[in-house]
């Protein structure tokens, strides 16, 4: 019995390690390559050397990245935009999710069906009309020391934030999750005279950690990785985000050519911070998933 048990466990470890390699090797390749010259990258990709920072290891590619573009500015823009979208989005979407999942009002079902329908719309198909739309929206601008009403949202943080706060997928997640929280909890609170908002804020939100974590991670990634929209609405380097920054390295028909080494360094620079944030964040993310199991 005991022997059989450990055999099974050995197989499990075998699989666990196999998958660990499968999922980490491409990123090890990226990081290792970021310390190599392009020629070395192309030579090493033919062997296991690809995954290790071996050979002529140097920081040239990183120096090249810092020379080529204002990295800190791009990073700040991406972090700021993603953070604001996530925070406002969590509030707006969970509030809507709460209403749809637990309150009764007219048009509730139509809204839910409509939300699910919005999930299948590829952004590429609405980008152009949306551009024309935001360009004709009014905005309060701060210019020459005074506030004034102007038209057009191009070249602002606002235009990179506002359209993405409300998100059907996030609302859908919250609806699904809120439905699993026992109804008795809010009914008891209602009898105590609590308002619907305080039920949402004091009872539902604290119980919905996993839904918030999942929604936060997904919307963060969606905004962080956005490419087409920033290309269309940002016409100044000061507001550009990290994904558009990748374009700075593709220059096929020019003297310098495509900078594969710098692409690896830049990819590392924009990926590793998120991985670190995730690794820190995932303890509470997964802990809340686990705690939901106990309560559900």
């Amino acid at each position: 019995m005991k022997k059989k048990f450990s055999l099974g466990l050995t197989i499990q470890y075998g699989f666990a390690i196999f998958f660990m390699l499968l999922f980490s090797l491409p990123l090890l390749f990226m990081i290792s390559s970021s310390f190599k010259d392009p020629q070395a990258i192309f030579a090493d990709v033919k062997s296991w050397r690809a995954f290790f920072p071996v050979g002529d290891v140097n920081f040239d590619q990183y120096l090249g990245v810092f020379d080529r573009l204002p990295l800190w500015q791009f990073l700040f823009n991406s972090i700021f935009i993603s953070a604001v979208v996530v925070l406002l989005g969590l509030f707006v979407n969970s509030l809507a999710g709460y209403a749809i999942a637990r309150l009764k009002f007219k048009g509730q079902n139509i809204i839910l069906v409509g939300l699910i329908a919005t999930l299948v719309i590829p952004f590429e198909t609405i980008a152009m009309p949306l551009l024309v739309l935001v360009n004709s929206l009014p905005r309060v601008g701060f210019e020459n020391g005074s506030f004034e009403l102007t038209t057009g949202w191009l070249n602002t943080y606002l235009v990179q934030i506002a359209p993405f706060i409300a998100w059907g997928f996030s609302i859908f997640l919250f609806v699904q999750y809120f439905k699993t929280i026992p109804k008795e909890l809010d009914e008891a609170a209602l009898i105590d005279g609590a308002s619907f908002f305080s039920i949402y804020w004091r009872i539902i939100v604290p119980l919905a950690g996993p839904a918030f974590a999942t929604s936060a991670i997904l919307s963060f990634l969606a905004i962080w990785n956005a490419y087409l929209w920033p290309v269309m609405v940002v016409q100044t380097e000061a507001l550009r985000t990290v994904q558009v920054g990748l374009d700075y390295f593709w220059a096929s028909t020019s003297e310098e050519g495509t900078q594969w080494g710098e692409i690896m360094a830049y990819s590392t620079l924009i990926t590793v911070p998120i991985i670190i944030v995730f690794v820190i964040f995932q303890r509470s993310f997964v802990a809340s998933v686990a705690s939901s199991g106990v309560k559900g």
Binding site: L22, P26, N93, A96, F105, L130, P163, A166, G168, V289
Partner: protein
């Protein structure tokens, strides 16, 4: 609890209902109004363009053309022509007398979708289409979705079970499995371009595993490019679905497993009797999410293959994108988007119906 519930309803009655209606409206208002402005309005605009011949960046005024975009998109025809078994060009030249745009023929301007030959090679049957890429991209997208749903969903479940078992270092493994999810698809695609080269790592590994393996260049092979992209896409997203399965697994009460063990159930029987039924809601959720994501596959195609080789990786959204953004044919691109929308909503509805029976 139960009696309290009844009491609630009696006590709170009408006023609660109207309070609930007011709060409900108020709470959905911010989200719904933003979505109406930033999503529904552009969608209506985009969809109405589907009935016009609008071109982006054209000084010509667009005009309403009814369903012409759709008839062109969906038109299909069958043409049989004489062929010469010794000269492959004969059949094509004969077909060309029908499909050449300047010729008077119901098939003028249509493109070859598929061809087959009679047994003796003297007759060729062509299927022609107004937009062959529409059908090819639809087919490619459905293949992508049909393969990736079980592959990614199943692998994610396997990983979740592995993580949920008794092994040590769960947190570590779970984190590593999730890392591709937080990596941008553009970056992931660039990395895998290297692996899929003829002298890249995929071939090195396959060569080590399979004796006598002939190295191939995955992304330039019409047969292998789509499978290669499917595998990479599953690799990228599987960690996310693993987490969802994990959340589902942890909602299954431990007592159920204990009861099953007392009944003498082995691991497989436990899975069948306890785990799988307990994961039903999760299953539906994972299936629908994977399908919707799969139908919209675009980024990796744009970075890795541009729809090639020989259209083998042109997906529906990539087709929409190329027609709209690269060829500026906004009207036709919008018509494609409408059809895409209808198809995905239909598939989602069917999935919901099929998986709803036991709820």
């Amino acid at each position: 609890m139960v009696s309290l519930n009844n009491l609630n309803r009696k006590l709170l009655g009408q006023s609660l209902k109207s309070r609930s209606a007011r709060a409900g409206f108020l709470f959905v208002f911010p989200a719904v109004s933003m979505m109406l402005l930033f999503l529904v309005t552009p969608v209506i605009l985009a969809f109405s363009l589907g009935f016009t011949n609008a071109k982006f960046a054209s000084p010509t005024e667009p005009s309403f053309i009814g369903i012409e975009n759709f008839t062109e998109m969906l038109s299909l025809g069958q043409v049989s022509v004489e062929a010469d078994p010794n000269d492959e060009n004969v059949a094509y030249d004969n077909l060309r007398t029908y499909t050449k745009p300047s010729n008077a023929s119901p098939y003028a301007g249509m493109q070859i979708l598929s061809e087959s030959y009679s047994a003796d090679g003297t007759q060729a049957n062509f299927t022609v289409a107004g937009d062959a890429l529409f059908w090819k991209s639809l087919f490619n997208t459905l293949v992508f979705a049909a393969v990736i749903a079980p592959l990614q969903g199943g692998l994610a479940l396997a990983l979740a079970l592995l993580i949920n078992s008794k092994i040590r270092g769960k947190v570590f493994f779970r984190t590593v499995y999730f890392i591709p999810v937080v990596t941008s698809m553009v970056v992931v695609s660039i990395l895998w371009i290297f692996f899929y080269q003829k002298d890249g790592l995929a071939n090195v590994i396959l060569d080590a595993l399979i004796p006598g393996f002939e190295p191939v260049s995955f992304l330039t092979s019409p047969d292998l490019a789509l499978p290669a992209i499917i595998f990479m896409s599953a690799w990228q997203a599987v960690g996310f679905h693993m987490i969802i399965w994990l959340a589902g697994l942890q909602t299954i009460p431990a007592e159920l497993y204990e009861a099953a063990r007392v009944d003498g159930a082995n691991s497989w029987q436990q899975f069948r009797a306890v785990t799988w039924p307990g994961l039903r809601t999760t299953f539906v959720f994972v299936l629908i999410i994977i399908s919707i994501q799969a139908m919209g596959v675009f980024t990796q195609i744009n970075v890795m293959t541009q729809g090639g080789p020989l259209d083998s990786t042109t997906t529906f959204v990539f087709h929409i994108f190329r027609e709209g953004f690269r060829k500026n044919d906004i009207g036709y691109s919008s018509a494609l988007a409408i059809v895409f929308f209808v198809i995905v909503v239909t598939i989602s509805a069917i999935q919901r119906r099929l998986t709803r029976d036991k709820d």
